[in-house]
Amino acid sequence: MGNAIAFYVISALILGFAMLVVTTKNTVHAVLFLVLNFLAVAALYVLLTAQFLAAIQVLVYAGGIVVLYLFVVMLVNLKRPPEDHSAPQRRPWLGFALAGVVLAQLGAILVWGGAGDPVDPHTMQNSDLALNNVERIGMLLYTDYFIPFEVASMLLLVAMVGAIILAKREL
């Protein structure tokens, strides 16, 4: 019961903050609502007894990546009048079509996905998975998901090298 209430409250917060991110005029405020959105997602992870993911969500997204967004947004002056933003080559139908595709995908997951039996949160809280969160995720990453993990880290390395080359051409 308590878990269900918490879930709906947190979900409403997530959706509300997401709406505010795209509707707020002031860009810095939009970025701040994005932070709140990420924090609410972290709360959802805690509700699912995935404390490790929650901590990483806060550390990497809220505390790391969005700080860099904020730097860019603060230093670049975005207070231009709205005419400049509404470019003539905007295609509203393309946006609607893409949104329709996403909606269809979500519907397809609901209809054919068959997510298996939902796990009772009360049994989850004392299970091995909840108590040894970090160990279990570590084991999975270095055994079953070893290749995707390595590919992702290669990708990040390439991005880092690329950024350094772009920034320092005459190194």
Partner: protein, 339 residues
């Protein structure tokens, strides 16, 4: 009912109040210590030996006029000091002050909670604290605070990398992220981790000085260059929140360093039999004594060392501390595999 709601609430109230009192008295201690180093007396007027000075300070700050600059972003300007203070305070949720004590017929553990990702929780909450500094500088709509906040946040992000890499090697030694388990593994090893990971300890201490914006890394408050720092436009109680958050962060870093490297609530050399006399002193006293010894070193360093230049600070962070921290992780891994 009592176990799930009442006792944790009492503990939270107690820890919050104790922390806030400790924070205000840290200000007095700092003034006193620096005065003694400079052969002065420090505050002497309010109460015997100036012991009531923090109360006088608090009254003064509350009564001061609270100014919001004309073209400041009002909401963000108000939120920024709170965003600095709150992360510093909620960190205490996972800091263990001692093992269980027997009170009123129950065993009460001397920590609010022990989550299995305790250390990660501290690191991630600390990373949220950067927002208060960035936003405080930005929302003031004034150039020096903006420059100071950019400096401060760049410094915090850089040193966060070094500190987190350092913690990795410690976690490898302890084999857990839970703060209580880290102390217990020091008990089982019979050694404080400062003797196992001396390099990590030094790195963590330097990183901790930089993370709390303390001398010699107090770039953000370089009065001579920035007319104050990111809080130049703040006055009254909102300024006080920034000011006190710095001390709260110092206490957090000291408490974390005590837990990770100095054996938390353990007495010195828990494995030596004839030193068992030391356990007559209760465990939480050991924790507090170690934490305060640490805080004293913070003040001592401030009274002794001049401030770094900004480019030197960045070079130290990225070209010295981070490589050493990574090397330390590699060496720890090799030693762990071999022995």
């Amino acid at each position: 009912m009592i176990d799930t709601y009442f006792i944790p609430l009492v503990k939270i109230l107690f820890v919050l109040n104790a922390t806030l009192i400790a924070v205000t008295y840290m200000v007095l201690l700092e003034r006193k210590v620096i005065a003694w180093v400079q052969v002065r007396l420090g505050p002497m007027r309010v109460g015997p030996y100036g012991i009531l000075q923090p109360i006088a300070d608090a009254v003064k700050l509350i009564l001061k006029e609270d100014i919001t600059p004309a073209r400041a972003d009002k909401w963000v300007f108000t939120a920024a000091p709170i965003l600095v203070m709150v992360p510093a305070l909620i960190t205490f949720a996972v800091i263990p002050f001692g093992p269980s004590v027997h009170l009123f017929g129950r065993d009460i553990p001397l920590y609010i909670t022990d989550v299995n990702v305790g250390l990660l929780y501290i690191v991630s909450v600390a990373s949220i604290g950067v927002y208060g500094i960035i936003l405080g500088g930005w929302a003031s709509n004034s150039k020096f605070p903006l420059l100071a906040s950019l400096r401060a946040s760049a410094q915090l992000i850089s040193y966060e990398v070094a500190v987190t890499m350092t913690l990795v090697s410690l976690i490898m030694t302890a084999g857990s992220l839970s703060m209580v388990k880290i102390v217990e593994s020091q008990f089982n090893a019979g050694l404080w981790f400062i003797f196992v990971q001396p390099v990590a300890f030094v790195l963590f201490f330097i990183g901790g000085l930089a993370e709390t914006n303390r001398a010699p890394f107090d770039m953000a408050e370089a009065e001579q260059e920035l007319t104050g720092g990111f809080h130049t436009e703040y006055s009254g109680m909102r300024f006080a929140l920034f000011f006190l958050a710095e001390y709260a962060n110092m206490i957090v870093v000291s408490a974390v360093a005590t837990t990770l490297f100095l054996g938390g609530w353990l007495a010195p050399f828990p494995n030596v039999a004839w030193l068992n006399v030391l356990e007559l002193i209760p465990s939480w006293m050991w924790f507090l004594m170690k934490t305060f010894a640490f805080l004293y070193v913070f003040l001592w360093v401030r009274a002794t060392l001049p401030r770094y230049r900004y480019d030197q600070l960045m070079r130290l962070g990225w070209k010295v501390l981070i490589p050493i921290a990574i090397a330390n992780v590699v060496v720890t891994g090799i030693v762990k595999v071999l022995f």
